[in-house]
Symmetry: C2
Subunit: 492 residues, 2 copies
């Protein structure tokens, strides 16, 4: 069927095309079906929606992803991609072959799967899991879908945290420690999805974080390290497309986590990787048993991928640093690099960096690199290379001007500091979109407090956001005070 295509500015993540209902019927195409679109000898795939008014008969509206495919085109109904049959096989708990997994990854990468099929892919992995062999094939297929950085150095260090813990901003501390020891560490990080700040959001307080793969390489060649946003470099680009389908379902199956993490590391050219697995209530991993299993799976998959890895299992029940939100976390980072800062954040950074040194067989001492100021100098060097101000001081980093202090209200002991509610209060206050918004914690679990002791301060850039955050906190009681001799958390 010959149609005339024009662009319509809707940024659907999938290559949606809109057909007049009569043309769709003529083609035998239903909502969510795929059509092949030929123009100038090239073929594109579109996913169908229908209309009776927005597009006239004989017309075809193409959304942003296919925005360049305009003018006269020839369309036909496309068969289902073979990868859908592989997804169905996985739903029925069959083991997938290397080629099957390559087809699935290829079709996800090319946006050939519609949202129902993507949901089924994630569901199949969640329901039936992936064997170590399948996980390895998935890692390799995801790595192959993007760019890959080659380095002249033999040892390339890297670090990843499974996440879910507020204020766990060890990366901008570990990277300069490791780089200061002369070890190459090309670190990519994420922006917040459901948290009040990702590492990339915090780093963005100091400097640029969006770079191409080539720019990232230049920064690392110059300084040994970087902390850039993973979304701008083209390393394992399929990952984001899969995460988009995991988010609505709030699932994060272990095999997929491992393939996502390791494919990013392989793509960055890294070969010595430390994986931090914090566990605790409301963290991504909720028990020590599950953390140990995940660590073992990581180890077994990495064995066949020429990756040296070390997994650390750490406590993730409560926030690590004091600040939560981009600016407040950036202040903690600078404080630790300056030899002070929140103790938990300092200790965890030192411990992980030392394990990474050990893995890389490098003779260096993280505490010494911190206390000598070498790590701070290296950090300023990296900030400068990423286009930021190398002379930034803590007082230059201003949290939001609207503040609310939450006090204990009674004498007692801090029973729980809930990651999840603390994060949500910070989000309501405007983080990460308003970088100065967030929370500064003045207590940790088991602290003794008096009635008028301050538990935490909420910061916001907008008054209305502060109100929203305070109202929410009143509802959920993110920090709970109890009697010192009370065994009970709550009575319901």
């Amino acid at each position: 069927m010959d149609l005339t295509a024009r662009e319509i500015d809707i940024a659907t993540p999938t290559p949606t095309v809109i057909l007049h209902t009569a043309d769709a019927e003529e083609l035998g195409a239903h909502s969510l079906d795929r059509i092949r679109i030929k123009r100038d000898g090239r073929t594109y795939t579109g996913i169908v929606e229908t209309t009776t008014e927005l597009v006239e008969q004989g017309g075809l509206a193409v959304t942003s992803r296919l925005g360049h495919v305009t003018g006269p085109v020839t369309v036909s109904l496309a068969p289902k991609p073979r990868s859908v049959a592989h997804i169905r096989a996985k739903l029925e708990d069959h083991e997938l072959e290397r080629g099957d997994i390559q087809e699935i990854v290829h079709d996800i990468d090319r946006y050939r799967l519609n949202d129902v099929e993507l949901g089924a892919y994630v569901s199949a992995i969640q329901a039936n899991g992936l064997s170590h062999e399948e996980t390895r094939h998935l890692t390799e297929a995801m790595t192959a879908a993007g760019q890959r950085i080659e380095w002249s150095q033999d040892v390339i260090a890297d670090k990843h945290s499974i996440g879910g813990v507020a204020g766990n901003r060890v990366t901008p501390i570990i990277v300069p420690i490791v780089a200061a020891a002369g070890v190459t560490i090309p670190k990519t990080s994420s922006r917040a999805i459901t948290s009040p700040a990702g590492t990339a959001d915090t780093m963005a307080v100091f400097c640029e974080v969006a770079f191409t793969t080539e720019e990232m390489r230049d920064i690392v060649e110059e300084t040994n390290g970087c902390v850039v946003w993973g979304g701008s470099v083209d390393l394992s680009p399929v990952d984001d497309k899969i995460i988009r389908a995991e988010n609505p379902l709030s699932v994060d199956p272990p095999g997929q986590i491992i393939a996502s993490v390791l494919s990013k590391k392989k793509s960055a050219g890294s070969n010595h990787v430390i994986i931090d697995i914090p566990y605790g209530e409301n963290a991504k991993v909720t028990s020590l048993v599950a953390a140990r299993e995940l660590a073992e799976d990581f180890r077994l998959v990495a064995e066949h991928l020429d990756l040296e890895i070390a997994c650390t299992i750490t406590r993730g029940g409560q926030p690590i640093g004091e600040g939560i939100g981009p600016v407040l976390e950036a202040r903690d980072v600078l404080a630790v690099l300056d030899g002070g800062g929140p103790l938990e954040l300092r200790l965890k950074s030192i411990r992980l960096a030392d394990i990474l040194f050990d893995l890389c067989d490098v003779d260096a001492d993280a505490a010494e690199l911190l206390d000598s100021g070498a790590a701070l100098s290296k950090f300023r060097e990296i900030v400068a290379a990423q286009g930021g101000d190398p002379d930034v001081e803590r007082d230059d980093l201003r949290p939001g001007g609207h503040r609310h202090v939450v006090t204990a209200g009674r004498d007692g002991v801090v029973m729980t500091v809930q990651n999840r509610y603390i994060s949500e209060v910070a989000r309501r206050a405007g983080a990460p979109r308003d970088p100065g918004a967030g929370i500064r914690l003045h207590c940790r679990e088991d602290d003794d407090v008096a009635a008028d002791d301050e538990l935490f301060t909420i910061y916001a850039e907008k008054r209305s956001k502060l109100t929203e955050a305070v109202d929410y906190h009143d509802e959920v009681e993110a920090v709970r005070i109890g009697d010192p001799d009370e065994a009970l958390i709550e009575r319901r």
Copy 2:
């Protein structure tokens, strides 16, 4: 956030709304998230896509499903529906409670799930199945979501076929047989999705098929029976919404089939139901073992739903009638009602009708009702009640004028008549959109044929469609001729 909503004519099946990227970021809403839209004290739920041009900042484009929600609105980010947690639980193979299933069905009915979540629902059922208890809850929840017809008669008969077999047009024959015996049979049928004709498409050759539930009731009160399109009456409307997500994945999990079928029957007020389960290569059910299991599951679920059911397992390896496509099947139907017609179609209709009589404890004889002309009179009565011409004769029903006869090409025996390819040839010829398009089979499996014997005729209303169908047939060889003593189907 206050926005001004306007309608945009895109007929997405889900209630998609399009926000400017900046407003979406401000709300913290990503693609596929839900927002609450308040207008005049009422609240609606929309599923988010973003744009930078189609909608200005401060604006909100609502697609057809929410087309009435225009003007000033207040929007906020909506939490994930609780049903998503139930779907996740099912993915992890937990048994769902009655209330969980009710929430899922309610949210699907209200279009509160996005396509990724719908895909996960179908996947969870496919991967982990439904217990008989879950299937019963699902049937009841699906029934409750739509209208329900009450009858004054005690015995209400009904019939369903699991499908997948070409030319299996027994319904327009069985309904008048049963109605002629004085038994009420309010039959709803589907239009074709991937086949060349559904029962509703064939019946539409004779009369109207789109009626409201009230109109359907009136027709049945007048004639004892009807054959109307299930898509126009509001009986178990959730079914179509689930089927939309099953289609892309080509899955049809048994528990979902049972709930779909039985909820339609419960909604129609039926209490004596015959379920035909044809099995064979390319039919929906592919083995005798699977057919028996499905029959047993039907029986166990129906037991707790006050439904008397009988399941028949029939052969579905090759087409039943001679005609495939709306007009060609309508001609077969009229021929059988007239006492002649394709033998397989006549015998199957009689057998199923007699079993239904037995189930209803009615003393009647299907063959006698056919041969006496009582069924034909009843059929004409129903056609008239549905607004068609009661005096229609076979010659009034004209298949497409463009024809192509396929001959055997060699002496031999008919090895296979492939349902799936025969159906696809008929679809390429234009069925069901062009009612006169389709196929008339002149052979059945195991027939001896000579080289110039006609195997089947392809009919089309448009020459281009005929060419397309013939080309496709040359590729797939829908009917295969072999040597009489040949054990082999194919050598590869």
